[in-house]
Every structure is written in structure tokens, then in C-alpha cells.
Amino acid sequence: MSYLPSPLRLQREAARRLASRRSTWLAIASTTVVGFIIVVVISGAPGFDRVRASFFSAHYAWSALPHVLTGLWLNLRVMLIAEVFVLIFGLLIAIIRTSKSPVLYPLRLIAALYTDIFRGLPLLLVLLLVGLGIPGLQLSWLPNSAVLLGTVSLILTYSAYVAEVIRAGIEAVNPAQRMAARALGFSQTQTQRFVILPQALRKVTPPLLNDLVSLQKDSGLISVLGAIDAIRAAGIETAQSFNFTPYLVAGALFVALTIPLTRFTDWLTKRQDRARQHQGQW
């Protein structure tokens, strides 16, 4: 038997189409108005021409680009290396902090102290303390490269954040999962490895990626130690020309670098939310 939509359905669908067309037009209209206001306010500002010349100069952008890109290559290496170490250390610290073994008590204490301190210390201070303090000791066997010490500072700070995120994930796994694993004869360590950690890491992937995005952008702070990264390179260009466009170039490149990861994080969060709605579990 073939189905003929009733007049009632057709009427309903027509009303919905009308409503959706109306929303589209409203969105376009309001965007135009807001955009117009922004353009008028900014371009009408008394100093607009000077700001445009010193921040948005195509000429200076083009001439600074190669140097800034060279610097960005350093940022890229620093962030990748730091991310690897941060994930390893964060995981280790989270495991130590959630362990129950009495032998690990001193390690637990140190780990708790470490996370407390480095989550509270501003990154800039850590950079200065490590980057200037360690060379200041004048021990010949200690490294004194700005890039290396800057990376160490990033790792120190971000491992503390990431450890707390992972620890939260471990504690969010249903205790019944641990009980079920122990009942099968798994040891404490096996339970952690096969049952708890895989579930915990899945739970915290979005906030974890969020911390990595933040780490990527903060890799620009190693410039305060004199490492010639994108920001430092832009600074050098600016010092020669008294034009700030190179900073904007560096900023745009940083944003471009983090966008893929932020989009991926959003996508993953949305997918997990959908899955959670489906089964009410995770």
C-alpha cells in the first residue's frame, strides 16, 4: 500500500520550512548589522590609520614571514617534544597518586607536593627560575641552552596539569569495574593496566587535548629566555622596523597551528556526548 502524506502533514512541513527560512534571514541580517557597527567604530577611531599602518602592513608582513616561520619551526619542535614528555610524566604521576601501595607512599607525597606547586606557579616564573637559575649555578655539566631549559619548564608546568586531569579520569571509573576485574583474579597492577586506565584515558581525552592546545600556544613563552622562536623572531623584526605587523604574523601562525587540535577536540567531545546519551554509561 502506498503512503500519501495527509494534508495535515503537508501543512506542518510548510510551516516548518517557513520558520527555518525566517531564522536564516534573521541570522544574516543581525550579522550584517553587527559587522557594520564594528567596521564603523574601528575605522572611525581617530588613530585608525596609524594602527593599520603599524599592525596590518602587508609589506612588513611579507618581509618578516621567512624569519617568523623559521622561529615557528622551533616552536613546533618544542611543543611536540614537550607534549610527549608531558603525557608520559602526567600519566606516571597520576598512577602514583592513585596507587594504594604502602611502598609508594613517599612517591605519592612527592607527587602531591609537585602537582600542588607547579599548578600554582605562573609559567613565566617557572621559565625564569629554570631558565636563568640553572645556568646561574655555573655547574659545567648542567645544560644552559635556552631552548632546552624552556622546554623543561613547559614540561614541569604542564605535567602537573595533565596529571590532575588523568587522575580525575581514573577516579571517575566506576568502582564496580575494579571489583569485577579483581574477582577474575587480576592483580592490582593488571586491573589498572587492562581495565581502569583505558577507560580513564577515554573519559579525559577532550580535557587532555585542551591542555595540549594550551601548551602549544605557551611554547611561545620560551622567547623570554632568548630562544629565537616565532615570537622572538617577530620581536627582532619589529625592533628593526618599528612596525608591529610581524607580531601579528606570529599570532596568526600560532592560531593556525592550534586550530586543527581544537576542532578535533570539539568533534571528539561531541561524539562522546552522543555516545553517553545513547547508553547512559560513558
Partner: protein, 249 residues
């Protein structure tokens, strides 16, 4: 003379001032099935949790296949690997497929090769009509299927005793039937089991002996027929009347 698989002697367990199990003794012969009935809070679940060492006991002894598993310094992981436990809430591992759930303990606790573990698991799954679910995640299974997988996850390790704690309480009647059919088949194949349940019809079907627990003590023992139709104690009479009133008998 059949051998005793599980021998609980004068077990006592309390949480703080709350005495949950008082001087309780049960012996379970190989291939036999004992069913624990009783109101919530009568100590059934605690008893099962004491047997697989998920709870520390206060006093008494527990023997598994002749070995004292309540001794100080006993290797609890090793003891638990010989006891199967299934819970009310299934507790399948959500990040693993059905097949991975079932083969995890054979591989890492019983040190079997992946191929052997998988072959055994697939044989079990197809025997109980679950083979096409092997590569699915638990979330996609019905409650009854999840619980059957949870039972197979325990059975594959050839436990000396299988402990079932209210395994049908979270299921609707249609799904309960398929879980009970699986347990009946396990009984046929000679599995030694101790079962805590509220399903009296099922108790009648599989139990060699029914134990009625009341306030942490065994109040009455007997065949399912005798206990369910001819209760001796006022406590059991009251319990059965309550069940009948709720339409559960």
C-alpha cells in the same frame, strides 16, 4: 563420597557495630548447587563477597577444594582466579568487545595464548547462541545478553565454584528467562554453584538445597519443595507471604 568444593566454617563478618553474618557454616559438594534466599540485608551478598575474598572476614574459616583460603598471607589473586563471580550489574568492561571481555582473564591471569583463549571463547559463545555478538561492544547488547556474557566470562576460567549474586535482579522478565536457561545448562554440565536470588521458581528448578538466611544466620535449610511449600520457622513463613503478596512466588 563426593568431595567438598567449598566449606565455610563458623563465618562471622561485621561492618563496624553492624553484625552481618553470624556463625554461619555451609558446605558445598562438587557439582552441587545451593541457593541462598532471604530478604535484602540478610547477608547473602556479603557471604558471596567473603568467599571470593572481596571482603575480609572477622572470624571462621573458608576452604576451597580443601585449601584454607581464609589463612593470613594467602595469595588472594590466585584464589579469586579459581572462583567465578557474577554480579547484579553485569560489570562488563565497556571499552572491550564481548570476545575481549571473555578472553582477558584467560590470557593474562591464566596465561593462555591468544589463539587458544579465542578458540575457547568462541566455542562457549556459539554454544550459548552468542557467537554473532563476539565483536560487539557490551553497550549494544541487551541486559540479558550482557549478563550471559558476564557469566561466560567467569565460566571460561573453569572455576571450582561459581558465585552468582542476584544476577537477574536488574533484568525484565523476558530477559531473566534466557539468563536462567544458561544457568540451568551450567548445572547440567556439573558446575558447582552458590546462587543468591529472589527468583523462587528458579530456586526450585536448579537448587539441590535452599538455605534461607535471616539476619546473617541460616534460619532454615532443605529441598526447594520442602522450604517453599512447608516452611517451619515464622521468619520464612513471613518472607514467603511477603513474596506471594508481591506476586513473586
Amino acid at each position: 563420597m563426593t568431595k567438598l568444593m567449598l566449606d565455610i566454617r563458623n563465618l562471622r563478618k561485621s561492618y563496624g557495630d553492624d553484625l552481618v553474618i553470624e556463625d554461619l557454616s555451609i558446605s558445598l559438594a562438587e557439582h552441587s548447587v545451593k541457593v541462598l534466599i532471604g530478604a535484602s540485608g540478610s547477608g547473602k551478598s556479603t557471604l558471596l563477597r567473603c568467599v571470593n575474598l572481596l571482603e575480609a572476614i572477622d572470624d571462621g574459616q573458608i576452604f576451597l577444594d580443601g585449601e584454607d583460603i581464609s589463612e593470613v598471607g594467602v595469595n588472594a589473586d590466585q584464589v579469586r582466579s579459581q572462583i567465578g563471580s557474577v554480579f547484579q550489574s553485569f560489570n562488563l568492561f565497556p571499552h572491550l568487545t564481548v570476545l575481549q571481555n571473555i578472553t582477558l582473564a584467560p590470557r593474562y591471569v591464566h596465561k593462555k595464548s591468544q589463539a587458544d583463549a579465542q578458540a575457547e571463547a568462541m566455542a562457549l559463545l556459539s554454544r550459548f547462541g552468542l557467537s554473532e555478538k563476539a565483536n560487539q561492544y557490551p553497550e549494544l547488547l541487551s541486559g540479558g545478553q550482557q549478563q550471559r556474557v558476564a557469566i561466560l566470562r567467569a565460566v571460561i576460567n573453569r572455576p571450582k565454584v561459581l558465585l552468582l549474586d542476584e544476577v537477574t535482579s536488574a533484568l525484565d522478565p523476558v530477559l531473566i528467562a534466557e539468563v536462567l536457561a544458561l544457568i540451568s545448562e551450567l548445572k547440567e554440565s556439573g558446575m558447582t554453584m552458590m546462587i543468591a536470588t529472589h527468583e523462587m521458581g528458579f530456586a526450585r528448578q536448579v537448587a539441590d538445597e535452599v538455605l534461607f538466611l535471616h539476619n546473617g544466620r541460616i534460619c532454615e535449610v532443605g529441598t526447594p519443595e520442602a522450604l517453599l511449600t512447608n516452611p517451619q520457622s515464622p521468619e520464612l513463613s513471613a518472607f514467603l507471604t511477603a513474596l506471594r503478596g508481591a506476586g513473586r512466588l
